[in-house]
Amino acid sequence: MPVKILAFAGSPRRHGNSETLLDWVLEAMGEDPQVSIEKIALSDADIHPCRGCNACEKLNACVQRDGMDAVHDKIIEADGIVISAPIFCMGINAQTKALIDRAQVFRSRKYVLKLPVVPPERKGKRLGVFLATAGQNWPHVFDAAIPSVKCFYHVVDIRDADISYLMINGVDEKGAILNHPAAKADAERLGHSTITELKKRLAG
């Protein structure tokens, strides 16, 4: 059965460490011919920050016309959503935070307007993956990014238990991740296991 993967490369630096990690995951996913993958680089996606106007609580749509228009439907249609982001200043980078905040339209749909985000038969059949890299070696360097990522997945009907994480610290300069002892193998394993699980759920 076909499996749709939507991936966001959140870094402003193209083909840097977090996007390389993403590419490893996507390549492993793409080994299965039934998997279709779309990767969106946020640096090219023209997604502006949320204006906090709360109009989506009434309109069930965002008042801003930008790159999010195209992304909105893709988020609903995907079976798996992968987000990769670098950690800047102990948090998720601003461009990725803008995407997360724009998911407010889904939060309004779900909690204010009480409308379905995905059709009921697709609930529990969507998976999320969060990939991150950080220059710092501190083990807690990813801690502040995770709550925002969980918010995003939560409002698009991907449960906490259905989010997988691969976060690599201590990689700073472009290409540093290529020398990491485990990142590539872990990324490939995660790509394979995510597709296996998705196919199981979609069949069930």
């Binding site: 402003p12 630096r13 840097g16 200043c89 948090g91 601003a94 461009q95 997360i100 407010q104």
Partner: protein
């Protein structure tokens, strides 16, 4: 010398809960004799950090936009209050955009090594975080603090205090909150007093009160 207090509003929503709380803080600071200025990030034109690391070589950002003069104001201030509502368990993309752009100062401190803040300097420069959140959860601000800490570390400010109020959705806004606006006003007054006494102590006029 007059204490300079800079308030930076990272909310996209003009005159909402967070900016109102910031205004109260700045009014308190002004009432204690400080000169105050408010910058609203939404009104500025700037780009988030590109992660190009050019500043690691030059100590300067390649992006020449409204944040260049703002960083000048930040470094000239005695007290900086960063204000942001909590969106999706974190600060807004606007404020994170400012914080990430401080990378050039990090580069100057740790790579180029032409910038150093002495412990005395840091003690005389106070940073505050002002925030509101709709949710009632006690942990709703937790993921905001590390980036604020990183910003104040990078700019030579002591991360002095938080003025935070959650559960805005239930209160119906900060103006209906029982204590938040007064707390912000009082803390604005108090921090100016502390900074003045530190200035006097440095000049040898009086011992610092703390």
């Amino acid at each position: 010398m007059t204490i300079r207090v800079l308030g930076i509003s990272g909310s996209p929503h003009r005159h909402g809960n967070t900016e109102t709380l910031l205004d109260s803080f700045l009014e308190g600071a002004a009432s204690a004799g400080a000169t105050t200025e408010k910058v609203v990030l939404k009104e500025l034109t700037y780009t988030p950090c590109r992660g190009c690391n050019a500043c690691h070589k030059t100590g300067e950002c390649v992006l020449k936009d409204d944040l260049i003069p703002l960083f000048g104001k930040i470094l000239d201030a005695d007290c900086v209050a960063l204000a942001s509502p909590i969106y999706s368990m974190g600060i807004t993309a606007e404020l994170k955009g400012l914080i990430d752009r401080a990378q050039y100062l990090w580069a100057r401190k740790f790579i180029i090594k032409d910038l150093y803040f002495s412990s005395e300097h840091i003690k005389r420069h106070k940073g505050l975080f002002i925030s509101t959140a709709g949710l009632s959860w006690d942990n709703v601000f937790d993921a905001a603090f590390p980036a604020i800490t990183a910003f104040f570390n990078g700019t030579g400010f002591e991360y002095y205090d938080n003025i935070i109020a959650n559960n805005m959705d239930a209160f119906g806004g900060v103006r209906k909150h029982p204590t938040a606006l007064k707390e912000a006003y009082d803390k604005g007054r108090a921090v100016v007093g502390v900074l003045e006494s530190l200035q006097r102590a440095e000049k040898g006029v009086l011992p610092a009160s703390s």
